[in-house]
């Protein structure tokens, strides 16, 4: 089975591209870790442990949602890189990193897209790995990124809430 189709009627390619670029930039600046986008299929396995966040993307002509799901291995690696010391526990601070990253990605995207898209201020919410998005759902746009340690799934949900 191939990659899920992008259905981006109102939610333009520009927004999706900007979100992806912002994600890669944010991770690289904050942690020094370089993410690479890799192909995704409906058979792409869900990591054993993951932490996530969602943030509303409410603009002048859309009301969607950005979801970030980060594998446990990658979240520990990112936090270790940011602090400059090895982190091995899934502490409250570690589990909150997807929230901060969503906040930063949103901020960068907002700066690049406004005022044309009228993106309104929003606050991220934490997600557990139980709500790992369904990759076969074509109403969503999914992108998978990997680093040397672990993976990250970015999903853009059109008009829906997890």
């Amino acid at each position: 089975m191939g990659a899920p189709k992008i259905n981006a009627d109102a939610f333009t390619e520009e927004v999706i591209r900007t979100l992806k670029e912002s994600l890669v930039d944010v991770i690289q600046i904050q942690s020094g870790v370089i993410l690479e986008e890799v192909p995704i299929t409906t058979r792409t396995p869900k990591p054993a442990r993951a932490f996530g966040s969602r943030i509303r993307l409410q603009g002048s002509h859309y009301d969607d949602e950005l979801v970030l799901m980060i594998s446990g291995e990658l979240i520990l690696h990112l936090f270790s890189q940011i602090l400059g010391e090895e982190v091995t526990d899934y502490s409250e601070e570690v589990q909150g990193l997807p929230l901060e990253l969503a906040n930063m990605v949103f901020g960068q995207t907002k700066e690049k897209l406004n005022p044309r898209h009228g993106l309104k201020m929003a606050r991220p919410v934490a997600l557990s790995s139980e709500v790992w998005p369904e990759l076969k759902e074509t109403l969503f746009h999914h992108a998978r990124f990997v680093s040397q340690k672990g993976s990250l799934l970015m999903s853009i949900h059109r008009g829906g809430r997890l």
Partner: protein, 133 residues
């Protein structure tokens, strides 16, 4: 960079960013760091402190009292108006930056930031304080 025993108040509603900023402070010798979980908590911490603070590093987007509201309170209170105030935010719209500048913010730190960016921003603040004094 800063005098020894400089007391720092770090405010962020997210524990992750409190941990990151506190760690970066310690790395540049600011070892006396107190944290607050939002603007309201920060105001109580400031007003009840037995030993006064020397520097405030605050997030913008917080519940109860936002970073901007806290900045206005701090800068309009003669007890705290002299305190250097660094605003940390993922928002970079010009109107917001102007609003913070108008309210008296001393430095603006954009998220994301790494250790080098943090050190540079603190260095700029120190030079600014020295110039003024």
């Amino acid at each position: 960079m800063f005098p020894p025993k400089t007391r720092v108040l770090v405010i962020d509603d997210m524990s992750t960013m409190r941990a990151i900023v506190s760690k970066m402070c310690r790395e540049i010798g600011l070892t006396d760091v107190t944290t607050a979980v939002d603007g309201e908590d920060a105001w109580i911490t400031l007003t009840e402190a037995k030993v006064p603070f020397d520097l405030i590093i605050s997030d913008w987007n917080m519940p109860k009292i936002s970073g901007l509201e806290l900045l206005k309170k701090v800068k309009s209170d003669p007890r705290f108006a002299h305190l250097p105030f660094i605003m940390v935010t993922a928002e970079s719209e010009k109107s917001q930056i102007l609003e913070a500048l108008k309210a008296g913010v001393d430095q603006y730190l954009m998220k994301p930031f790494n250790r080098d960016m943090f050190v540079n921003k603190m260095g700029t603040l120190v030079r600014k304080i020295k110039k003024v004094s």
